[in-house]
Amino acid sequence: MNVESRIQSSPYDAAALRRDFPILAREVHGKKLVYLDNAASAQKPNYVLDAMNTFATSEYANVHRGVHYLSGAATERYEEARVRVQKFLNAGHSDEIIFTRGGTEAMNLVSYAYLAPLIQPGDEIVLTVMEHHSNIVPWHFLRERQGAVLKWVEVSDLGELDPADVAKAIGPKTKLVAISHMSNVLGTKTALGEVVRLAHAKGVPVLADGCQGAVHGVVDVQALDVDFYALTGHKLYGPTGIGVLYAKRKHLKGMRPFLGGGEMIREVTKENVTYADAPMRFEAGTPAIIEAVGLAAALDYIDGVGRERIEAHEQSLARMAAKRLKELNGVRIIGEARDKGPIISFEAIGIHAHDLATILDREGVAVRGGHHCAQPLMERFNVSGTARASFALYNTPAEVDALIAAVQEARKVFG
């Protein structure tokens, strides 16, 4: 695919984009695949797979080690990928970009390397009830091990978060605000810039879980002034096994190493060890080199299509789907924030989310059913689980039709 041509292809042509994703042509259970589980993981375009294959078959070696030609070439590609991510997030410096195994590892890295050394018993971490478990459990670790206190900020019935409520939860003992940029269940886009402003006014840094937020819109970490931003590659049409932690330089300096091993050291003797500077300090062992190259290609692909254009396309599909779901009898949408991404959680009254997902699956429609790794949020809305349809750059209005028809089919099964 020619990335440039996508920029010029106008109007938005989802059908053409679909051809970049071979898996979308397949059938499941004899029906056309309608893939609406993008919030769990997005499919991969040939552009990404080819980039990884080309790299692995022509320039691959370990990075930051050998003096031989391929080691140098591979190191260049790997470091170019870091710069590519820096540009994608508009970070000030490439050394603020740490490659991780995914979003989960990125948030655990903040917990272990940044926050744990600062926590005294009774210190507080502010988070919201709509966090994914990956932005909850690392803080529970600090509660269990060091006596940290978790302060939960509620969301409204629409699933909206009032930044003022976050500010209210911040006290003299608050050491971090950990907040989703976009809820993986409700789709709610949080007013991250405003949260950061309020938190900084009280001298508290902010970590944003950008695993969804980075997929559905432009992220500018400098404009947001956010201290830490976590994202994962596989939801960005990139490979699994690669994610990113953006961390401001001023925090990186004081952060202790997480994993110890090769590549993260300056010098090792029998008596002592000194560490490399960031980002290497936090990338012990051989990193996911091919995957980093794949992630960079995915970001090229996304920007080739155009982030604003993708966002507008996804928004129009999601609005259409939400409207039509609400028109169905006995369907309730959970999460109706005014500012939300293309993620729709819903329940069909009287049908458990897993039964609904099973029936939809038989119609070829892949949605997630369950608690979405957000059990506190399920409790907040008093549901055991929801079905979730989430849209990507390659989905089409016909797929919204298929979703609606499949939900109607489920209604028939359950009478």
């Binding site: 259970h29 897993h354 039964d355 099973t358 119609e363 059913g369 055991s384 099964v413 359950f414």
Partner: protein, 151 residues
């Protein structure tokens, strides 16, 4: 409708899920255990009253879950009453074979016929754990454990 779905969501399954039998706590239970499926968050609690001769005199369940897990629990409670502990475990063994699509030769004709409604789940590998949750909880209760989980 898809044939597999028709077999999975038979009328009798839907009936059990809408009107579960023996639903609620058992005040004088001798054995209690909770089954938990961490994948979906579904929970089922099984209560058994077992007499001195190892016979199940009463059984009930409570909890929340999908149609498959609730129907399976409900059906199980209908079938356990009056059986010995050994017979209950044998029934479970046959049931586990059945939902995996294997030949449940250990089941007698009557039991097989009654459990046959759950056999449709064998075509849905992702859902087999929903069907077995209550049974694992029952086994855990009889074994004196308090928790069972499917993972």
């Amino acid at each position: 409708m898809d044939q597999g779905l028709r077999e999975l969501y038979q009328e009798i399954i839907l009936d059990h899920s809408r009107h579960p039998r023996h639903f609620g706590a058992l005040a004088d239970a001798s054995h209690v255990a909770e089954g938990f499926n961490p994948l979906c968050g579904d929970k089922v609690k099984i209560y058994l009253r077992v007499d001195a001769n190892d016979r199940i005199k009463d059984v009930s369940f409570e909890g929340r879950g999908c149609a498959i897990s609730v129907a399976s629990a409900s059906l199980m409670t209908e079938m356990l009453k009056g059986r010995s502990v050994a017979e209950a475990e044998e029934l479970m063994g046959g049931f586990l074979l059945l939902v995996k699509g294997e030949d449940a030769q250990t089941l007698d004709e009557d039991d097989r016929e009654r459990l046959e409604v759950m056999a449709g789940v064998s075509a849905f590998p992702m859902r087999v754990k929903c069907a077995t949750l209550a049974w694992h909880a029952m086994k855990a209760a009889l074994d004196g454990q308090v928790k069972a989980r499917t993972e």
